[in-house]
Point group: C2
Amino acid sequence: MCELLAMSANTPTDLCFSFTGLTRRGGDTGPHKDGWGVAFYEGRGVRCFHDADASASSRIAEVVQTHPIKSEVAICHIRQANVGDICLANTHPFMRELWGRYWVFAHNGQLNHFRPSDGFYEPVGTTDSEALFCDILNHLRTNCPRDAAMETMVSQLVRLSRGYAAQGVFNLLLSNGDWLFTYCTTKMASITRRAPFGPARLRDADVTVDFESETTPDDVVSVIVTEPLTTDETWDIYEPGEWRLWQRGEVVMSGIEAPDQRTAD
Amino acid sequence: MCELLAMSANTPTDLCFSFTGLTRRGGDTGPHKDGWGVAFYEGRGVRCFHDADASASSRIAEVVQTHPIKSEVAICHIRQANVGDICLANTHPFMRELWGRYWVFAHNGQLNHFRPSDGFYEPVGTTDSEALFCDILNHLRTNCPRDAAMETMVSQLVRLSRGYAAQGVFNLLLSNGDWLFTYCTTKMASITRRAPFGPARLRDADVTVDFESETTPDDVVSVIVTEPLTTDETWDIYEPGEWRLWQRGEVVMSGIEAPDQRTAD
């Protein structure tokens, strides 16, 4: 399987601390050594780093850990391969342009018998995750107008997610740079840090940060993961079937799909 | 304006030497300090690095200079902004997926009165270059079948390039990972290195390489640039209106559009 990490913030914020914790699990404290990737939105642009090697020993991951890249939305993934070879083309996060914006996607899980519909977007690699991403974008493109309101798009995403979730494990991170959509079938947790900020200690590395010294009182920074990254903070665990839409560090829409609904589509 | 660099090779080869020379021109030996980017194909995957800062002083560019990333096709760009703000979204090379492959594009020049046709692909940033790229892909998608032969696509690309060239400066690098299409209106040069390999010295940095020690006798590695990078080798200068299609280090198709043809479309 794999692990996921995302950030939503109301001010450009670096991901060094969380990224350092997650990437230890890529071949050191965890088995997710089959590649890693991270995408940082900067305005409408996206800065990506991908590697098909273990993140714990990657020179490029080391640079990302120590070189503060400021972003309001970031998505990160470390991979333990199941479907698809270990190669760059199969390394999350995946990115496509839709309606003049870059969309970024990372996924944890596996769907049984998933068959994507034909459409404009096609996978380049051989993972079911990338095929899922293309399927989502093809559905959005078909079913939403170009200038659709966020609520319209989210309603489509919830409907689609419910369908995927009925077919297997589907823990999702998806962003268009404006908002971040998250969906949990088995494991996801979040933490929102705001004033008064305190210290935090990573679970996977001997690293402590004092957020007080790195923030202003107005900052709101949320981190969403498949497994909590720190030992001394209280993470908010998603329910199975729960989705949350993040914008500027806050949950702006959310819901929980009951299990019977989740298998009805 | 800006400068371009591409590589086509018959074996995975790193770009450290040429990249080191080019990136000096991004704020040190040249004025192209408004961002830089590079895309390396690895199989069907692409590894990209982008920065909206000067390449000559970029920490990430330094990593790319010293960390050998092996690729058979690479495209690099350093920017001196004319159209479009200095920001990540306006930083070449640009990438889109078409027919299940990543396509990568970088451009030097400026077209007067260019108006892209509407289509599926849309620019995310505000450069005329990215609009051009989207226009090219929209035309290919409309006018070629999904499984078009390389010759069919190239014929379309030559026809399109002729039209763009009639509107201004259009020095182009475009690849789908299989081949690399290059088109020159004002400046482009190439060099093909093959056995017996010799040494080479950069024009922009005190760096010499002995390719003999870094290659095997079967290697064929071509580098295409807007301005030659070395002082002690003979570069093959493109004619205005000349295009060359590169594959595995060799020119596999080429042609020259006469000036009257170039303004006829």
